[in-house]
Symmetry: C2
Subunit: 388 residues, 2 copies
């Protein structure tokens, strides 16, 4: 099997020439007569230019196929091969990567597994983020969780910038929240997931993941782009770390936001994540607070779902987006709101309830026009945040 990569070059770059440089320079390289005895093997490692396409505006796209034998069935070695040294060679953007079905990992839980854990099969899942992000104590986290979990929330996660800080150490947060999760389970039979943010040097991070799971963590969160795909690989492979891993896109813009450099969002947050071992992947919704293209979001959604990874459109999510989100996603989506739940005018519990009111209203086929929505949590949310 081979790995196919599409590189796009802006006008003024000779795509054909660059294609050859990539196919050779990112694989075996050149050799001379001294290596005649290895000729066949050397050749087997070379990349191939599959096709080139010149656009009318002078930009070009080339497809290179790479032997799977050059890499280690993981994302880290893949990135080194397809865009390692070459990323420094000038303007070029990786716009698509096609991997063999069995490349990398599939999620251990993913859409079906997370649904089974929660026992919810017929609706989107509602997820919140602890806010404010820094400065709350572990007890504050527990108190917030009590509010939103009692209101029916499915999943909560740490803010991605909250590490293992003195103000609220990771294990203390788990301890305070675990107690609430147990209460909710006892009182209602419902499972609520809390994705605890994993930080630290790789060895300590993995050890922390072990310890957290042992102490009752039922989900984990990783900033894979700042900690490393090799760290996610280790977590996902570990049979003792048997809880869903939520992956956050922090830092993705540094790789993906430029028009003619780096990699497409749909590659990094879609294709690579789908083969990384992640169970659920967060990324910006195109109608949210971050600038994002609908087409990229759709590709991410499809790339993730093709491998049972839960898509989690995020950033600026509030109850008013529910009709649009369900039109885009159907049921298999996790709606993840930070301030869209925590800053509801009537408090976080109201924020959660507003989402469920929105789901209910949509199911009933009713309008979201403000004048038609009766007084209540949804209406209060619509008054504050509007709809899409």
């Amino acid at each position: 099997m081979t790995i196919e990569v599409d590189y796009r070059f802006p006008p003024g770059v000779d795509g054909e020439q660059q294609a050859k440089i990539i196919a050779i320079g990112q694989t075996a390289g050149t050799w001379d007569a001294r290596f005649a005895h290895r000729e066949e093997v050397l050749r087997s490692h070379l990349g191939k230019v599959v096709k080139g396409l010149m656009e009318t505006d002078g930009s070009s796209t080339v497809t290179i196929s790479f032997p799977e034998a050059n890499v280690e069935n993981d994302i880290s070695s893949l990135l080194t091969m397809i865009f390692g040294k070459y990323s420094m060679a000038g303007a070029a953007k990786v716009i698509a990567v096609r991997l063999p079905e069995d490349y990398g990992r599939r999620p251990q839980f993913g859409i079906t597994g997370i649904r089974e854990q929660l026992g919810i099969f017929d609706r989107p899942l509602i997820m919140a983020i602890f806010k404010p992000a820094l400065g709350l104590s572990a007890e504050d986290h527990g108190a917030i969780l009590r509010e939103v979990a009692s209101a029916g929330l499915d999943i909560i996660k740490d803010d991605e910038i909250l590490g293992d800080l003195e103000v609220a150490p990771t294990l203390k947060r788990l301890e305070a929240c675990r107690q609430v999760l147990d209460e909710v389970k006892q009182q209602t039979g419902r499972t609520v997931l809390y994705a605890v943010n994993l930080t630290g040097a790789a060895d300590q991070l993995i050890e922390k993941a072990h310890l957290l799971v042992k102490e009752g963590a039922n989900a984990l969160l990783l900033n894979v782009l700042t900690y490393g795909f090799s760290v996610l690989d280790a977590l996902a492979a570990n049979p003792e770390i048997n809880v869903p891993i939520f992956v956050h896109p922090a830092f993705a813009g540094a790789l993906c936001a430029a028009p003619n450099h780096g990699m497409a969002y749909s590659v990094v947050l879609g294709t690579l994540m789908a083969h990384s071992g992640a169970d659920a992947v967060l990324y910006p919704a195109h109608y949210g607070s971050l600038p994002f293209e609908a087409a990229e979001e759709a590709k991410i959604r499809d790339n993730l779902r093709s491998r049972n990874v839960f898509p989690v459109p995020s950033a600026g999510i509030h109850p008013g987006i529910v009709p649009q989100a369900l039109a885009d996603y159907g049921q298999d989506v996790i709606l993840n709101a930070g301030t869209g739940i925590m800053d509801h005018p009537d408090g976080p519990a109201a924020g959660v309830k507003a989402f469920f009111e929105a789901l209910e209203r949509l199911n009933q086929g009713k309008s979201f026009a403000l004048e038609t929505v009766p007084d209540g949590f949804l209406r209060r949310a619509l008054e504050k945040w509007g709809k899409v």
Copy 2:
């Protein structure tokens, strides 16, 4: 102590407004009366806009200071804070990061330690890369090393794209090369370093590093940008992994090459590396084969050397660049050549000798003009590759 970050925005972006968004959005965020009891602590985590500068072309640069208490004294949490979610917010480039002296790590070996290991204090070090990159057997590696090490080479490294592949498993490569290193030591008393490329899932990678060192590896190589700063952090902290760590810049262009997005090369390959635990850092030389600005290279050099990290300008290095390189660097530099050694017309040993001839010739104050250079390895290199 605080962490200061300079963000540059292109014309059309309201830098002042963005500065506020970063200072608040990348730290504690907003809160309301419900958190009055935590007001003081929440405030202590906020970032501050230190200054803003509007350029005549409409671009702007703002400086934000972040509390050190928000992060974990490592590069991964730093990246999440300074450019995590915000990297997806639009056009912005991180052009400088100023860290407290004690932030992160210093190299365990660095310039002084690597020099002590080699017993060489008064000249640049000469480093080669195994080529071709993929397809050679472990025995081939041993045979190549014998040639170049006997010719006086100081350091050799795996190509960054060579992982733990069936064609030449990492431990087999070490085994074949370790034998040669021992022979050279016995015959000449000289230590030659072989930086073995570390790959795999984070836990296995760290375990492999242990095993390699136990089996006699005297240096390691890491593609930190594709494997993760948290992996380097773990390796550098480990007292049993007591050999220099060479860090490769593969994938840096994906983060740094765009004009208005991502981070400056001098930040990623300079500042962050200098605080990461790396002992020696590779990056493109501005007169090499990759497009690179002299000013960025100078900043990288100075950032690295300010913390005793060995600078390793690379890519397209050959004996003809020696006068320019020494003018830029003086003695404290590792000159790292791939094809510039391996593809010398008279073979790899001649490639190494050509570098030493070049150093000698420069010491004697002699010209590198081709007509003045006597027949020999240096002249043959100059004939093939020219000079800067």
